[in-house]
Symmetry: C2
Subunit: 92 residues, 2 copies
């Protein structure tokens, strides 16, 4: 019996890594008149569904997926949250 989980993964650049895209967006916002904007950092937001026997297994699988494919551990950090998906509710 497996359970389906909805995962939301947030991948961010490590604080020590320069973020030229964030700097460009900050400059663009300043040009639009939003002078108080600071510390713009741009990351990735990934949504996916996975099936696993329990939440601990799902978290362990997500950690491996992030390390192997979704994030670059040399320059990026990641966090995620998980919630169960009730497929019967979706189908109703």
């Amino acid at each position: 019996m497996t359970q389906t989980y909805q995962a939301r993964i947030y991948v961010t650049l490590r604080p020590s890594v320069l973020d030229p895209a964030g700097t460009a967006v900050q400059s663009g916002l300043h040009h639009l008149g939003y002078d108080t904007i600071e510390q713009v950092r741009i990351g990735k937001y990934i949504e996916l569904q996975l099936s696993a026997p329990d939440q601990a297994t799902a978290e362990q699988q997500l950690n491996v997926m992030c390390d192997q494919l979704l994030a670059n551990p040399v320059i990026e950090n990641y966090t995620f949250d998980l919630e169960t998906v009730d497929l019967e509710t979706l189908a109703a």
Copy 2:
């Protein structure tokens, strides 16, 4: 007297818009052996700090920034959350 807010903005493709990058990541995860992965969607996660007199003003400014620069309202949705930043705590 203005307050500094930390904003976290999540930009996602509208459900009706195809996401080739998400499809590629899903295929990659399947090749790594994670066969249960479905519904992969890739969006942007933006962090920034802004100053505003109150939270309602900050939210209103963020909505305009998202519509004008951070998201493409034709194909993307966005949500954000805001929390106050205590600058004295940061400096301590």
